[in-house]
Subunit: 425 residues, 2 copies
Amino acid sequence: MKRIVIVGGGFGGISVMKGLAGSGEFRVTLVDRNNYNFFPPLLYQLATGFLEVANISYPFRKLMRKMRNSRFHMGEVTGVDTQKNLLLLEDGMLPYDVLIFAVGASTNYFGMENVRAHAMPMKTVNDALELKNHLLLQMEEASKITEISQRRKFLNIVVAGGGPTGVEVSGMLADIRHSVFPKDYPEMAALDSEAGIYLVDGTDAVLKPMSQRSQQDTLKNLTDMGIKVKLQVQVKDYDGETVTFSNGETIVAKTLVWAAGVTCPRFSGMPETAYGRGNRLMVDEYNQVKGLENIYAIGDCALQQHETLFPNGHPQLAQPAIQQGSNLAANLKNQESGSKRRPFKYWDKGSMAIIGRHKAVVDLPGNKTHFRGFIAWFMWLFVHLVSLINTRNMITTLFNWTGAYFSKDQALRMIIHPETKKKNN
Amino acid sequence: MKRIVIVGGGFGGISVMKGLAGSGEFRVTLVDRNNYNFFPPLLYQLATGFLEVANISYPFRKLMRKMRNSRFHMGEVTGVDTQKNLLLLEDGMLPYDVLIFAVGASTNYFGMENVRAHAMPMKTVNDALELKNHLLLQMEEASKITEISQRRKFLNIVVAGGGPTGVEVSGMLADIRHSVFPKDYPEMAALDSEAGIYLVDGTDAVLKPMSQRSQQDTLKNLTDMGIKVKLQVQVKDYDGETVTFSNGETIVAKTLVWAAGVTCPRFSGMPETAYGRGNRLMVDEYNQVKGLENIYAIGDCALQQHETLFPNGHPQLAQPAIQQGSNLAANLKNQESGSKRRPFKYWDKGSMAIIGRHKAVVDLPGNKTHFRGFIAWFMWLFVHLVSLINTRNMITTLFNWTGAYFSKDQALRMIIHPETKKKNN
């Protein structure tokens, strides 16, 4: 029985695990630092208090109950011994016959240590909860200050990165400023005029990989919502109070949301030559890491360049990860049964981004068909709802969304902060 | 306009605030270290993964939207200047005409610093989440160990304190061990036989303040569920791995849940003579702190001894706090309008505790009528459901309970751990 070890239980890891479930030829071990799978496209709703953790996450062990050939191992991977076929963990090691990296991408600060120390990333459930706590704490601090000029830094928000995450976070925060905060903070009457939400991107457009029409619609929507969009500008420094931009401008803000770039984690023992652009592991058309016979990589952390449409690899999104995962699972089974392996072929299902209430943009494959406004917003809600991992999450998410929609409000505004061992009286 | 400052937004604080809402004569400021109210009787369901934070908590600012005369101030109280009528906070001060302490009780470790350092308390939302994370982490650690004798310490659980919290936590954990864990941890086949859940109390019964019949029913139920109840025994020391008892016995356990006693916080500037038994503030029949004209205390932190049935003060439960709060609000209004104040009179509505699935005990007032089993369990569910602070919380709690009941499962098993500012890649 082949021992398959999958590192990372995101879209890619779960997809390959599901593909191998029930197969008597494999014993699958999933390794993850968390004990749950989560749905990254809705992280920004966690950060803004519209959804809660349980809506967008699910325990691995519950997911794996019916996969008799699968086991879960919670742990932090440190490296690989490719000679002895051992995955090295902080607290032990796991032998493997086949190793699959599905570790996703992590936040890239481009070497700016100050930004790393003070900005708020948006890649994990903990990131999103920390951002939510931080945003609410800034509001509480501001509410204690009567001098408007003194409280501006608590209210200003800079969002770096005009991709879907940046657009969605800034749009959602603008919605909340209009509809929720005036009711909650009567001591600060006209929040909109006091402070701004700034969305900053180094390129000449927001949602750069989408169609030009989507970019233009989004820019117009964001501007109409009062968001100050700054293009062709990059964040150069941040000390926790002042954001300094590449054009020399500065903005005083206690909140810098960092959605400006990703990289991939490196693991000791993997050959340097295996890593390509963006620290992604270079793989062939079967997702096999170049030069390593029994090690594969899928999803965000894999750089696969055989498809002419994607010379720089596939986009770091859910769909390539899911599709590579199921293709890899099929190929592993084919190999066992002596059938031919199929090279990966990406099926582009289009892309979408939500901007605010009744506002979204959708590009169907090939960027030929474009939707916007209410219809795009409804498509976005539907696609994201049915993509959730199980019925329970769908029902509770639908409940929270319906409540938030009709009340123009979000209920989940508790600042919660468990510590490892708190000393109290 | 009189400035009323309420410290603490629990049952008592919210009750007095609601009583004063809309009154043009008062400007009410609620001070709390958290930005939300929560429902302590269901904390143990948070710790065991049956409910989530949003089910049992609610943001103060949302609660106060319709109370035009009320403001919220998030902050940590350090003391009082009773001469200048100033409440001192970590980051400032608040002037008051009337000050009301409704700070509740906190965990009492009886001076045992080792226990404080290593045991898990159960008084706050953060406590409950930390306990849940801790319990799940112990299971993950145990699952990596193949030697049964080596993993026992991760699986053993000692619960100190046979009051409602201790009974409910140990009952719930026993239920989970039977119905959930065998499915989730196939690598540990017979969990029940491997390790124990111990419930320890220094007195000669569990649920000491309830009727003898309730005590006996509870003890029988707990024992039937496999819980090892140790009476007339106290925890004397705990180093994080070994619990040492007053009779010299020891149990190896990485988890010691501490529900064995409460005390009340002291504040600098308050006269020493104002504090009575259990650090509670001694108050007269109008909840006025003895010797201080414009300072009141209600609920767990108040020691009111004028009622002959309660020579040692009222029980530290929700009902006395709620009733004292509304009585105090009425008296403050009476005072303004020149009417006579009413001395507090406690209306005992009985008491109840849940032990497990279909198991609970209920004593109606005067301990004369007693229910047990399914009917008591159903009464418990109903009373706790309708006591939740708003409709949203009732609906989501009912949803989670119904799901858990029919699936004999709890869905909320994610280990979530936001830190203030995490350094990641």
